[in-house]
Symmetry: C2
Subunit: 117 residues, 2 copies
């Protein structure tokens, strides 16, 4: 099997930096494709392709405005990612790294001398 498709979920869609950039740009408001092309400095087809992926995971909504297509952010599918990551938040807030080191040392000491209390 190959890697899961980028359109599988927001996790995969957002793994690509360009797509995160696009979302960041859309966070400031609705924009037509050419705006993004300018701001990103990418070729138009690539932008359209990234937008397709974002559309398929519902991270953006489109609206037809004459011959332009206005893209708008829909951040809701990002919530599950944020929720999942929140579980780990304490790990970097409470200097768990340090605690881990201490635990390691303890374990190694335990290993050397069996104490009976």
């Amino acid at each position: 099997m190959a890697r899961a498709a980028t359109t599988t979920d927001a996790f995969n869609a957002v793994a690509e930096p360009r797509r995160r950039q696009i979302l960041d740009l859309l966070a400031t408001g609705e924009r037509p494709v050419n705006d993004l092309v300018q701001l990103l400095g990418l070729a138009q087809p690539q932008v359209s392709k990234h937008l397709r992926v974002l559309r398929e995971v519902d991270l953006v909504h489109v609206r037809d405005e004459g011959r332009q297509r206005m893209y708008r952010l829909n951040a809701e599918p990002l919530k599950p990612l944020h929720d999942w990551l929140s579980k780990y938040e304490q790990s970097w807030n409470k200097r768990f790294d340090l605690m881990d080191s201490v635990l390691d040392e303890l374990k190694e000491t335990e290993h050397d001398n069996d104490h009976d209390d």
Copy 2:
């Protein structure tokens, strides 16, 4: 070009569900590979391969314990993801979807009648 390697950063590493599962399991404490194999119901080589990816992006640390290898979570590389996602938090908290719809309608009205106030 192909998709960025899974070892490029935590974003890519964590896009794979199994690897998220592994991190979830390690969140409860240090574990040897076979533990994970049991808990995940995967073949041992696949688990080792996933662990390799997680190691390369520094999401896990290893410690040799006899012939076992104890894996421990290192959540710090997840912080950037959490930070990035936090920017969008308000979007799903404040019913922005609704606001967006309203904005859309406003825009369309603006479009129809040019008002001068």
